[in-house]
């Protein structure tokens, strides 16, 4: 840091990011991670010299994990879940404390996320997941697929791969989800920590080490931080000889600094995505407005609006007529009221505050609801266009865009929209084909964007567990 940066940040005590390679924690060393004004100083081990142990040089190195029965995988993960819940060594507590120093997530959401991570490791959930996704059937035995033209049977099975996960840090449970998915498909997983969540995955892995440091799942799991694009690290890692599956969360975010990604690896990309809602206000009575507003607030405020399913825009259909603008304003006020009950009031981040202030000063067809400089806020656009800074929304900021027909709303849907929430719910069946055709990947009732995330099902339009495996065919 320059003296000026250090002066502005006002923080001098460094946080140390653990590097965990196959059950072994590397001794602290002072490789400083580039930080920014207002953020704590962070240090991590330079992993450029550890690539030999970080990677598995041959695929057959996975034989121990391939031989592990699914019951044992579940038993181990469930035991880890119990250990995470007990947190005897305060690993989770410390991760939350560290997270708090640089996270934009509210205290309540942060605590809820870590509870959710514990839930992900529950035996009941894991067993249901395996059953619904037919993981064991598909992945632990040769499975007769079809009959070839020669009338001879064709069989296939899935094999775990050596994978590298460049995960996102906007939601802490992504780390837990990645560890579980990798274990279920018996993969060797290296997790590259994002600078916006450096501590969740190490806390989980250290807890796994507490349970059984020699367990095959632990032996095939590593986590480290390096600056994205570091040629010393990625030059050796991004190589199909040692990585078969490269999982990139956040698309461009993960690849911007990494020109080394070639076409010889299977690149699996999550996002970046954004949720939206479609509300037919004409099909909603005045009495229903408070309930609708409460459901919208539930979707918007969940996970502090940091998730890929979180709605930022509510396309609201009002056929033109007397009082239509007033009804949209009424909806805006109701959504604001509902969000104020659900979200913690917090200062807007400066660039977002600036964009909203600019809109209040200069815009003609837009109305802003809520307290100046604070979230939650509702931005009502009467001109049929979403505001240009929706990607800056967080912690309860939503744009209600007034449209005149369902067709206009459908025209706004794109491949960027992972989740589309619909109200009233009975419209969903009639719209799902049209919404799917336009690129969206998930259609839900308003109010259910966060509550019913289907873990065994596809995410962002593809079968995640299937993509993480290598499919071998016997003909």
């Amino acid at each position: 840091m320059t003296p000026a940066e250090s002066m502005v940040s006002g923080l001098s005590k460094a946080l140390f990011v653990p590097t965990l390679i196959r059950g072994r924690e590397l001794a602290p060393a002072n490789a400083r991670i580039k930080t920014f004004p207002g953020e704590p100083v962070v240090e991590a081990v330079d992993v450029a010299g550890e690539l030999g142990t970080l990677t598995l040089s041959r695929p057959e190195g996975l034989a121990d994990l391939q031989a592990l029965p699914m019951e044992e995988i579940v038993a181990f993960l469930a035991e880890v879940g119990d250990a995470l819940a007990l947190d005897r060594h305060s690993r989770i507590e410390a991760a939350i404390a560290n997270h708090r120093q640089y996270s934009n997530m509210s205290e309540r959401m942060l605590t809820d996320q870590f509870k959710y991570i514990v839930d992900l490791f529950s035996r009941d959930l894991l067993e249901r997941w395996i059953r619904i996704a037919r993981i064991d059937d598909r992945m632990n035995q040769w499975h007769e697929l079809a009959v070839a033209p020669s009338k001879k049977p064709v069989r296939m099975r899935a094999v775990g791969c050596r994978s590298l996960h460049v995960i996102a840090g906007n939601v802490p449970s992504i780390g837990g989800l990645t560890i579980i998915r990798s274990a279920l498909v018996r993969a060797d997983a290296i997790i590259k920590l994002p600078r916006n969540d450096l501590f969740t995955v190490p806390a989980i892995i250290k807890t796994m080490v507490d349970v059984d440091a020699k367990h095959p799942i632990v032996k095939h799991l590593s986590a480290a931080y390096w600056q994205g694009g570091d040629p010393e690290v990625e030059g050796g890692l991004y190589n199909s000889e040692c990585i078969e599956k490269l999982v990139l969360w956040g698309g461009d975010d993960a690849t911007r600094r990494s020109p080394r990604i070639g076409a010889d690896m299977d690149v699996i990309v999550f996002g970046p995505k954004m949720g939206v809602a479609i509300v037919d206000l004409d099909a909603t009575s005045d009495d229903e407005l408070p309930r609708l507003a409460a459901l919208l607030a539930l979707d918007v405020c969940e996970l502090d609006q940091m998730a890929c399913f979180s709605p930022r825009v509510i396309y609201t259909i009002v056929r033109k007529g007397h009082g239509s603008v007033d009804r949209c304003k009424e909806l805006s006020r109701s959504v604001l009221d509902a969000m104020e009950r659900r979200c913690d009031r917090s200062p807007l981040r400066p660039m977002l505050a600036q964009c909203i202030k600019a809109m209040q000063i200069g815009a003609i067809d837009q109305v802003v609801f809520g307290q100046s400089g604070m979230s939650p806020r509702v931005l009502l656009s009467l001109d049929g266009e979403k505001v240009e800074f929706v990607e800056r929304f967080s912690r309860g900021v939503v744009n209600i865009v007034v449209l005149q027909s369902v067709e206009q709303a459908l025209a706004k849907i794109s491949i960027k929209n992972q989740t589309v929430a619909v109200y009233p719910a009975h419209l969903k069946a009639g719209l799902r084909d049209e919404i799917g055709l336009r690129g969206a990947q998930r259609i839900v009732d308003v109010g259910a964007a966060a509550v019913d995330v289907s873990l065994p099902g596809p995410q962002d339009g593809f079968d995640v567990l299937g993509r993480l495996c290598r499919w071998v065919v016997e003909e």
């Binding site: 502005v8 975010d253 995505k273 400066p350 660039m351 600019a358 200069g362 003609i364 266009e385 800074f389």
Partner: protein, 407 residues
């Protein structure tokens, strides 16, 4: 103590400026009313009446359609201190003609940006404000060259590696300098008799986020032409570093250097446009042109004067600009008495057709009350200019939600 009195005087000027302009600029009055500010006593008061830079592009994209010219005019009206000819502007078939109507009927030489994301910043600047801006630049060049250089009094041919006409800041600035220079001087342009069309920019740049730089081969041919016309003469060149460096490096590799006279003036700004240039790039450009008179400025569309860069790499704040930095995380004004790094905000007291009080998208380090630059020039100065989006922590932070860096 002297500097403190200086601040009080500046804030007093700011207060008078606010009281005067809010009578004419509807959006400013709205902003001050909402903030409950009647007078400016402190930098904190000032920060509450600053416009975010985005105000000058706060119209919806649909206003750019020909059928919505009236809405676009009404939007601009609330940001402008004089009455606009709404009916005449409403019938303008293109944005270029709308801009020309503003100039012809309201004497507003509007300046626009390069259309990042399909929208232009539109700042209604009076013709007189362009003239005072050019005089200011001339004064700064005289001061920082120790009286050895100027851009208005000495007749030098103009070499402008861009369009002859248009309403971007560079084009407007050179148009003004030529207008003020007596005797009239010869000029050559990369695109003579052509216009940097606002409509064409909007069409071509909807998804683009970088300002367009011309093709290096075309630029080399243009400088060959300039050389054949003005070799050995003192010239005035207005260009950005990457363009000038590419031309210089190509010429130097062919053994071509000291092409123009030693009294040539090179006027530049805008940094390196995110290009990684070698550490000695300025030396290469100087050697190619054959002059030591290189003047770099920090500026933006919303400000009339410009901040000259001294030989110590600091940009000096013009006397008409009241400025401060704000904490990147909280947005609160940082102590003006000390050196501080934060989001740069200013009020340009020269701007009276529009409100020149702006919270910028830049992060800078701004000197404190008693700091003096080693170059000997008095007043505050800034250095280490960076974009807020880059500083706010986008680097290596990953999100599966479609979020802006640092969100």
């Amino acid at each position: 103590m002297e500097a403190e009195t200086d601040y009080k005087r500046q804030l007093n000027h700011a207060s008078v400026h606010l009281a005067k302009l809010r009578e004419d600029i509807v959006a400013l009055d709205r902003c001050a009313e909402a903030a409950g500010i009647r007078s400016i006593e402190t930098f904190d008061d000032l920060s509450k009446v600053l416009f975010p830079q985005q105000v000058y592009k706060s119209y919806p994209k649909s206003y750019l359609k020909p059928e919505n010219r009236r809405q676009l005019t009404q939007w601009l009206q609330q940001l402008c201190a004089v009455r606009l000819p709404e009916d005449e502007l409403t019938t303008a078939p293109t944005i270029d003609e709308w801009i020309d109507t503003l100039a012809n009927l309201a004497d507003i030489w509007l300046v626009h940006s390069f259309g990042t994301g399909g929208k232009l910043s539109l700042v209604p600047r009076a013709r007189m404000e362009w003239l005072s801006g050019a005089q200011h630049v001339d004064g700064e060049i005289r001061k920082f060259s120790g009286g050895l250089a100027d851009v208005l009094a000495t007749p030098r041919p103009v070499i402008q590696p861009t369009f002859e006409y248009g309403a971007t800041a560079a084009t407007r600035a050179v148009q003004t300098i030529r207008e003020l220079s007596l005797p009239a001087r010869e000029a050559i342009y990369l695109h003579p008799k052509q216009r940097r069309s606002a409509d064409a920019l909007l069409m071509s740049r909807a998804a683009d986020s970088k300002s367009p730089l011309p093709d290096p081969d075309q630029m080399s041919r243009f400088f060959d032409q300039a050389k054949s016309k003005f070799a050995g003469e003192d010239v005035y060149i207005f260009g950005v570093w990457p363009v000038l460096y590419d031309v210089a490096s190509d010429a130097l590799s062919k053994g071509i250097h000291h092409v123009f006279g030693p009294g040539s003036v090179l006027h530049t700004g805008g940094g390196t446009k995110a290009r990684a240039l070698p550490s000695d790039f300025t030396d290469s450009v100087k050697k190619f042109v054959g002059t030591e008179q290189v003047f770099e400025f920090y500026s933006m569309t919303e400000i009339i004067p410009a901040f000259p860069k001294c030989r110590f790499g600091n940009y000096h704040v013009p006397s008409s600009v009241v400025c401060c930095v704000m904490d990147v995380a909280s947005g609160s004004v940082l102590d003006t008495s000390k050196v501080n790094r934060g989001q740069f905000a200013f009020l340009d007291l020269l701007a009276s057709m529009y409100w020149g009080g702006i919270t910028t998208g830049d992060v800078v380090t701004l000197s404190g009350t008693n700091d003096r630059c080693d170059c000997g020039n008095a007043g505050r100065y800034l250095f280490d200019v960076a974009r807020l989006d880059a500083v706010a922590g986008g680097d290596d932070k990953i999100s599966c939600a479609d979020t802006a860096p640092g969100t």
